[in-house]
Amino acid sequence: MTKHDLNYSYYPGCSLHASAREYDESTRGLFHALGIGLVEVPDWLCCGATPAHNVDELLSLSLCAKNLALAERVAGDLAVACAACFSRLKATQHHLAESETKRRQVEYAIDGEVSFAKPVKHLLEILATDLGLDRLAAAVRKPLAGLRVACYYGCLLTRPPEVPQLDCVEAPTIMERVIGAAGAATVAWSHRLECCGANFTLSRPGVVLKLSGDILASAKRAGADCLMVACPLCHGNLDIRQKEIEEATGNRFGMPVFYMTQLLALAVGVAPSKLGFDSMIVNPLPLLREKGLV
Amino acid sequence: MSRIGVFVCHCGENISRTVDVEKVAAEAARLPGVSYACDYKYMCSDPGQSLLKKAVAEHGLDGVVVAACSPRMHEKTFRSAAKSAGLNPFLCEMANIREHCSWVHEDREEATAKASDIVAMMVARVKKDKRLVPITVPVTKRALVIGGGIAGIQAALDIADAGHQVVLVEREPSIGGHMAQLSETFPTLDCSQCIMTPRMVDAANHPNITLHTYSEIESVDGYIGNFQITVRKKARSVIEERCTGCGICSAKCPQKKIPNSFDKNLGLRPAIYVPFPQAVPNTPVIDRANCTYFRSGKCGVCQKVCGPGAIDYGQEDSLIVEPVGAIVVATGFELYSISEKPKGSPIKGYGEFGHGTIPDVIDGLTFERLASASGPTGGKILRPSDGKEPKQVVFVQCVGSRAREKGISYCSKICCMYTAKHTMLYRHKVHDGQAYVFFMDARTPGKNYDEFWRRAVEEEEAVYIRGMVSRLYQKGDKVVVMGSDIAVGLQVEIEADLVVLATAVQPRTGADTLAQKLGISYDRYNFYSEAHAKLKPVECATAGIYLAGACQGPKDIPDTVSQASAAAAKVMTLFAKSELEREPIVAKVNERTCVACLYCRKVCPYGAVEEKELRDRQGNLIRVVAYVNPGVCGGCGTCQATCPSKSVELDGYTDEQIMAMIESL
């Protein structure tokens, strides 16, 4: 592992082992290609996501604190792929640093100390800051020229202001900068930060159809070829439910939804077959062929 | 033959877009008497003004017309340019071809024709213009301040500190005004009396201040720099010079059950009294209407107990004449009362709040007296009906104010803040009490004001409810408040122990009468009118009279003090010169033709016209004519329009000038 100058411990989160396996695969492929070391935290646990903090903050904090403790066993800053996991882990660090009472309760629950030592980083941050856009651009073999990408942040990547501190909370550009380094064109559009309704995907899918439908329509209006996301929950709604949305709203989108690692990996020369394009519901291959990318 | 110069301005494109300025200049050049005409991009710019000056010199112009914007905009500019070119400034006129032409018309042909007409009119006028020189008037460096509240005291102290004599006239027996009645002040919660009483004492002790308390303005004569004020000193029945303020008279007075209006009638006082312990001067007054001696001729206890022999039952009102050069009006405000509205108040009344019949419905000033440590309850919040401590207090904002249909459209400005303060004071004094405030908006635009209000809500836990109160009624020993919370969209009902109404701030009763004496204008609510809302906020239209404080409009203490100091500064500016210069737009009498019918005097709003006797060298009276005092004349010209023989003429607007304009049409 010491052969790389950048090494990270890796918290993929539940989805990346299931519905978002292409995110996991492409992340590994990309990092390998860029020469960044990535070691998965052994036996990590679910972060609790929204349902946990929705009704039981202490449980939510405890689960994340436990994961942070587990991550201590692997060297390197903690790389997180899922926006929801990232948000929870960062929020836990934030809240526990602020509240002595909560920290004591959590320490009792996990029967150990809360670790603040390990910086929690989203993949975007690693690519944009730790690696740097120059190095990323230099690694590009197949520029994504001609591809008009709508970068979708969703709600959890930047909010609330003091927690993730990934980028400007209301007008972030990190995704645009990163994919721009790979030669893609990005479109300006209105719904970059709107919520997709992930929390209701199981219980109230009607909500999802409305919220995600608005997002897709906005991207379409802005002239995007595809959406790019950094969160498996968003992906789940925008890609998996896209047909449903089309049926419910009567609009035709046909908008491939890529994980940002898929597009970057493609640009740095990872073989398309390793990027899980086949597991996407909206088939991206016609678009990629049209743009001469596969 | 005149030599007139015409300068047509493009005003960038503001004029030239719709008016063919070259054509206007060309047509002007053809007018008789015009010896120079040109057009220029920006006449008001430095090069534009230089152009004018150069033309005056080169062409020997004896009159100038600048066809540009409104004279209200740049007349001063061009007149001073003309002056520096050696031309009498009153020989420079402006033709308004922007506001009155290019901006209001779109058809180029029509607009150009109109612009040419306007220029022709002004050329005709300027030919009849006379050389005028500014008028000088001597200034008496002594000021009158009417009203001894914080505004009057501040203005008086500022002027006196600058080394000028000040006459301070107060209607009540003591100076101090409303500020002396307040408990604490927002947004600092410092004690009002602690900051007020030292100022009162300063004013009384200042060597340059003459204090007339229990006095009113009887009449005002004269004009800026030269007023003659007659002050009526009401009979105090106490000789001020002898009184030592020992207070034994009040202590021994057998008549002790008179409601004290200073305490909003919550407390009682004797018939010979000082309104409050820190009164300045500390000289009592006999309230003759309630004094046993004056009512029945028997008693006389105060006279018997008074060591220095200061009691004088036979004292009469006296009239004092004070010559002053400037007047500061600071008569302040009073609160609208739902039981008895002030005379002249336009408010229609609040039957839904019980018209003042519910004893535990009070106004803000009454609450101040309840909260004041020196008040009738010693600072305890006790309700009027049964003296119990109220546990649920409801404050209602905008009673009378901001209710056009009720009679007043303006915002009383201070209520939001004092109500927030009241909720805090209440919380500090009744820890288990709950304050509720019904409001429409919280208007807190002052330094640290919004923070103060938020503190009342967030830290002192006042419950603010957005929505107005529909009705108040008595139910047992409670007052039921029927309101609504418009954020929730539900009706709200509170059974209150005490209700405090933030009633409208109104000018003092009699403000209109005083204004008529002073010759200053006032609005339909009787607030005094400033000369210009933005640029002359403390001046009256009547020269030499300035406004300070709430008599001009609702104001809080910082604003009042600022305005008072501003008014004082205006007075000092006036006093900085021993003579006063003013625009010579005044009426003059042609003594040759005047037959002294004095119609001019009858219509003059300034009282500027006097009779003048014309005598021969031996001093024999030849005849009487009218004379216009140029220092007093306001320049309206009503005299001239009224004069049958046109023997009085308003300089700057003579018949010749006007007729020339009409004839040029």
Binding site: - | T593, V595, K602, R623, V624, P644, S645
Partner: protein, 303 residues
């Protein structure tokens, strides 16, 4: 109703009694030295005529008369325009009710002081109009037969029949016309005006040193007797008299061109009474209706 009002129908003895009383009073005040002169009427050379007279000698008091021919408003002789008379000293003046209204008006205008005058009022049943026998139009509607507030009043009032108010009728007729018809009416009348200024000369209120209409810088009113200037002159004059004219109608009497000038004055007086409740010449008023105002004056005509 008596449409052909005749002055002869009034008992001549009434005039004789009044004449005697005037003479006696004039003599008394002149002899006592209370006044320097008495302004009154004397008989004209032609029978049945009369003209103004100024008597300074008590022995000449007997020349004074009162008859239906005493039409002149003597108030005229007390205005500043007639300085030489005023210079004689304290004056007595004989006035009919209508003349007295002019005197009162002049007092309000600072031209006369009541204490400087000895007013001999004469009760007047009416004086001649055009043609010796006809009663003047103003007298047919007279409401001031008996002057009030004089120092002494002489004569007595007979029972008078109700006369036809020809002037009011004419006013009503004009008011009922359309503006165009009225314009035609006045245009025709004013066109005749020769600008002799007899109207101005006889008016007690035209006492200005210089008439506005004689000024030429600026010339507000054209002076040549052309229709435009004539119209302007009569409008300006009517406006200047509004609220002041007491209705002696001397202007109309003096007009050689028979222009019904008093109609204008009557009209203005009527309007000012309606608008502001003002009637000229009944009491000494410091301010006439156009020199004062009320804040709630009618402004229905203002947008």
């Amino acid at each position: 109703m008596n449409n052909s009002a005749q002055t002869q129908s009034i008992d001549p003895a009434l005039y004789a009694t009044a004449t005697e009383a005037i003479r006696a009073e004039a003599k008394r005040v002149l002899e006592a030295g209370t006044v320097a002169a008495v302004v009154g009427w004397q008989a004209g050379r032609r029978k049945g005529s009369a003209l103004p007279a100024i008597v300074t000698d008590p022995t000449k008091a007997d020349t004074l008369v009162f008859s239906p021919a005493c039409v002149n408003n003597l108030a005229l002789y007390l205005t500043k325009a007639k300085k030489e008379i005023r210079q004689k000293g304290r004056l007595a003046i004989v006035v009919k009710g209508c003349d007295l209204r002019a005197l009162v008006g002049l007092m309000g205008e600072n031209q006369l002081k009541r204490e400087e005058l000895h007013i001999i009022g004469v009760v007047c049943p009416g004086v001649q109009g055009r043609g010796e026998a006809t009663m003047a139009a103003k007298c047919r509607e007279c409401a001031v037969h008996t002057p009030e507030g004089t120092d002494v009043t002489v004569g007595s009032l007979p029972d008078l029949p109700r006369f036809t108010p020809v002037e009011s009728e004419e006013l009503a007729r004009l008011e009922a016309m359309t503006p165009a018809e009225r314009w035609a009416f006045w245009k025709e009348h004013f066109a005749r005006c020769i600008r002799c200024y007899a109207c101005r000369q006889l008016c007690p209120f035209c006492y200005c040193e210089q008439c506005l209409c004689d000024r030429n810088r600026p010339q507000a009113v054209e002076t040549t007797p052309r229709p435009a200037g004539n119209m302007a002159w009569h409008i300006v004059r009517a406006m200047h008299l509004a609220g002041r004219c007491a209705g002696c109608a001397e202007c109309e009497r003096a007009c050689p061109m028979d222009i019904p000038l008093n109609l204008l004055n009557r009209k203005m007086a009527k309007e000012l009474k309606e608008l502001y409740g003002h009637e000229a010449g009944f009491e000494v008023q410091e301010k006439g209706p156009l020199a004062q105002y009320r804040e709630d004056d009618d402004q229905s005509f203002i947008k």
